[in-house]
Amino acid sequence: MTAMRRDLLLCGLFACAALFWPMISDMRYSVTQTTFFFIWATVVVQWNLVFGIGGIFSLAQVAIFAIGAYVTAMLGYYLGTSMLLAMPAGAVAAVAASLVLGIACLRLYGPYVALLTICVSQVLYVLIVNDTDCFTNPPSGCMPLMGGVRGFSRFGDLGFRDWLGAGFYIGNYYVGLLLLTAAILFSIAIIHSPMGLAFRALRDNPVYAAARGVDRFRYQLWIFGLSAFFTGLSGAFYAVNTGVVGPVVFSFQHLLFLLSMIVIGGIGTVWGPVIGAAVLMLADEAMRELGDFRDIGMGLLLVACVVLMPRGLTGLFQDMARRFAKPADTEGAT
């Protein structure tokens, strides 16, 4: 079984198992939390393509996610666009924004890229929050162009509320599942495609790869743009699912939460980000009772994981599997 077949099989198994979850669990809370897991996992899987596979230390993924969410919400709010149209529009806008950003920052290396991208997302946050000029003046109060501190609400949904009534969240659950499954399939396809091979070549021996005509800038720009599509789409779905989009999606805590997922799960693997997203959602849930200690716990978890397990949970699993497999191998050899 090739690696690609294995990944596809796992993806299929995961999707099938997830199909039955709302039927087993009759608690609304666990279903909606799983929907959030789908959204975050989609973002992290795409971020992993940029960070782990493309080797670009970009922290702009959260900003791209937020752009997808904002464009969707603004189209719905100002123009009354149907969400079915606004969501892909948000994703396309995210791709466009990410390409512009990519052209500006992909000439740089390593930490320079991280600094520049983090500054971009912070500047967007500051510009939105400090905007107090009224763009429109609805009865609910002054509305700046980008929503200001309050953000947007009541810009439409996918129509599940009319169709399923109180069970509308189950409709959102399946849309989320579809989104994540598509994102994982996309990630598997990229990792096992010629582009994935090009990145592996660039990582293993940059000079030889360049000599064979592998253009680093071009491939990195490609992956930057491609990964932005599902990131933007998940942002758009986040907007539709929560019904509110505010500047909080740009915030540093949010960035930290998602970055922890990818680091704890394992950078550069197909399943690491998904596992990381699940683990952090559960850890977040477990620490919810702790109040103020929650943020400290999250920071501690991140630091401990980076220091103690550089390759994340998937790396840990691989090491353990190798240790168990080794005695059997040596027996076979003798």
Partner: protein, 292 residues
């Protein structure tokens, strides 16, 4: 003409504040290729320590400054012992230490939030009053900050250029392995560099909070600006970053006066993008050839 001098005065003050925090970051990056993302939290810690010593314990300002610097230097050493040290020789150090210090900074900020609460507090280590020279209003605090920054920069330059420790720091920055072979205790140097940087962060936190007020997350913006200055100067260039800090301070003062405070951060970012496209190594950065 008065406006010109007013902008010059506030721009230089801003630049001095930035220079103090930027130099700490540049020193750490120059010596160990490490971007310390918990610098902002260290600044907040320094500000709060000064507040605690003076308002809480009722000690004089000198003690407040001293306690803040010592505590932050201690936390700097802690960062070396717990985070940077263990992963120093591993693969992908730059990326991993970046992420780990983000986590550490978030942790430190939450601890400060828990200990001192979310309400803004005034910084007691500040001097009221101002001087008026030819219709230009100069708060004494600003002059004090300028003087403090100059003294600190001179002391740091003296330390780096003249002392034995400074030579060890520069040698380690140039070539870690060669320095070790010459008998430099590299671990000590790294711990020391982080301690100096922590101390500078404390001073910077006190000056920043004396111009506005104390908040647990007050270090975030100055830290990002300090990083922008580092990038403009070229990461790890200590003297260059002082020049860049003064320039950026003036630039920001001009933008705040002409376009508005709202756009100062955004225009700084635009500036850094232009600089990076023009000179990817920074204005004072050396072009590093790729060795095969």
């Amino acid at each position: 003409m008065d406006v010109f001098f007013q902008i010059l005065a506030s721009g230089l003050t801003l630049g001095a504040v930035y220079a103090i925090s930027t130099v700490g970051l540049a020193l750490v990056f120059g010596a160990m290729n490490m971007l310390n993302m918990s610098h902002g939290a260290l600044m907040a810690l320094g500000g709060y320590m000064a507040w605690f010593t003076m308002t809480g314990l009722g000690l004089p300002p000198v003690a407040g400054m001293l306690v803040a610097v010592l505590v932050c230097a201690g936390v700097g050493v802690l960062i070396y012992l717990l985070i940077a040290g263990p992963m120093l020789r591993s693969e992908g150090f730059e990326t991993r230490v970046f992420i780990a210090t983000i986590g550490f900074g978030a942790m430190l900020e939450s601890v400060i939030l828990m200990a001192f609460g979310p309400q803004p507090k005034p910084q007691p280590l500040a001097v009221q009053g101002g001087l008026s020279v030819a219709q230009v209003h100069l708060p004494v605090q600003n002059l004090l900050i300028l003087a403090l920054a100059m003294v600190l920069m001179a002391a740091l330059a003296l330390l780096l250029q003249k002392s034995r420790i400074g030579r060890a720091i520069r040698a380690t920055a140039q070539n870690r392995d060669a320095a070790r072979l010459m008998g430099v205790r590299v671990g000590m140097v790294y711990a020391l560099v982080l301690a100096i940087s922590g101390g500078l962060a404390a001073v910077s936190g006190i000056t920043v909070s004396s111009l506005s007020s104390l908040l647990p997350n007050m270090g975030g913006d100055p830290m990002l600006k300090a990083f922008i200055i580092c990038v403009v100067a070229g990461l790890g260039r200590v003297p260059g970053s002082v020049v860049a800090a003064l320039f950026i301070g003036l630039f920001e003062a001009v933008v705040q006066y002409t376009v508005g405070v709202r756009f100062s951060f955004a225009s700084l970012l635009l500036l850094v993008i232009v600089v990076l496209i023009w000179k990817p190594q920074g204005v004072f950065g050396r072009h590093q050839g790729v060795r095969l």
